[in-house]
């Protein structure tokens, strides 16, 4: 809930998200979001590495579950199939992705690896979409209820005033944008609820790339309710 004198919004994600990623219990769009966040913030990366290291130690300590007799030979068959496949289809998909990247390939190269790979995968089938002057959107097409998109905003331009049907988490990857709530630079997260109107404008300087995850009203309700209570007061 907005109030005129509230302090600046928090721009960080709670540890709950890092734990959710660490244990694999986030859906794909949110998992990508938190992975990208960890790629941009040393403290989050450190926490995530601790959790994944604990995961590895606990994996070693598992009591081995017996496999069927032919388990290894079936895995080797799968490997043969991979090794013998010339992947003609893969090459043509890659060509299509390069074409659809539409001159932004160099810029994509500067994004965190997880985001870059998601963008390349999406570009195999989907082109960038025009979303107003200076703004392009690439839907990443991940499964699940939440929707992940890569935004490319040229300096001085703004994200379209999308009706916030649901809630939106935005992570700045390169450049920066300004809105009524402040300045968001690389590694900052903007959290917008359904009741929050804002019109972010990219700052002069490098092109602003951002990763946005939006969800239907109900799906994010729990998370957003908390953010509003915790951070927006």
């Amino acid at each position: 809930m907005r109030s005129p004198d509230r302090p600046e919004k928090s721009k960080v994600l709670g540890i709950e998200f890092i734990r959710g990623l660490g244990s694999g219990s986030l859906e794909p769009s949110l998992a990508l979001f938190v992975s990208a966040y960890a790629a941009m913030r040393a403290d989050a990366a450190d926490d995530l590495a601790d959790l994944e290291t604990a995961g590895g130690v606990l994996l070693e300590a598992e009591t081995p579950a017996p496999l069927s007799d032919d388990a290894l030979s079936r895995a080797l068959d799968a490997i043969d199939a991979i090794e013998n496949c010339a992947d003609v289809e893969g090459v043509s998909r890659a060509r299509r992705a390069i074409r659809q990247a539409s001159g932004y390939l160099v810029e994509l190269g500067a994004l965190p690896e997880v985001v870059r790979n998601a963008a390349y995968a999406a570009l195999e089938t989907t082109p960038w979409k025009f979303a107003g002057p200076g703004v392009r959107i690439l839907p990443l097409g991940l499964p699940g209820k939440a929707k992940a998109e890569l935004l490319r905003i040229e300096p001085g331009h703004g994200a379209p005033r999308h009706g916030h049907l649901g809630c939106e988490l935005t992570l700045v990857l390169t450049g920066a944008f300004l809105d009524e709530h402040g300045r968001f630079g690389p590694g900052d997260v903007s959290i917008a609820g359904a009741d929050l109107e804002h019109r972010p404008i990219a700052e002069p300087g490098p092109v602003c790339y951002a990763l946005a995850v939006t969800d239907a009203p109900l799906a994010f309700k729990g998370l957003l309710g908390v953010f509003q209570r915790t951070f927006l007061h």
Binding site: S10, V12, G14, I15, E16, R19, G20, G22, S23, G24, S25, L26, E27, P28, L30, A31, R41, A42, D43, D46, D47, A49, D50, L51, E52, T53, A54, G55, G56, V57, L58, L59, E60, A61, E62, T63, P64, A65, P66, L67, S68, A71, L72, R74, A75, L76, A78, I79, I82, E83, P143, G144, K145, A219, G222, L223, V226, R229, T230
Partner: protein
Amino acid sequence: MRPTPSSFAETVNPDRDRHCALVEAIALRRDRTAFGELFAYFAPRVKAYCRRLGADDGLAEELAQEVLVAVWRKADTFDRRQASVSTWIFRIARNRRIDALRRTMRPELDPDDPLLQPEPAPAPDEEVSAMEREARVRSALQDLPADQLELLKLAFYEGLSHSEIAERAGLPLGTVKSRIRLAFMKLRGRLHGELN
């Protein structure tokens, strides 16, 4: 000697270097014998992890195979300076789980939960080596009382929510939260000298 299910006493896994060399042999030489040895160690453990997450025997075995085939495909991205093989394989299995089970997380967040209050980050110090991190995490796991270890496993390894854990462990929600918070702080090595 391998860690038994109840002990993380070795501060470094004795198989660590061996496992690294096996993955590197796959990356460099497409070495199938090396793959066979890794498979024998990790596939049954990944299967056990998948069983723990609720997959039936058939699905768990299928997922374990997929994870090990992914190990073959991704072997050239493995870097022993960044992670041990078990951490790396855990991450592959975890990502496979995100894609396969697509279990949507709806953490019942509590704004008063101290875990949610952004903490001052530890000085993102000089890069912690994977070995140092592993030694610290192993010894933290080793030192945790059994009940805290169990809660930590449910929360961080199996990915259950606080209220699911409270139900399973038969504990009040508040107790679950504070124990998990404490366990996580210990894992992060933030409590040295503050407790005990």
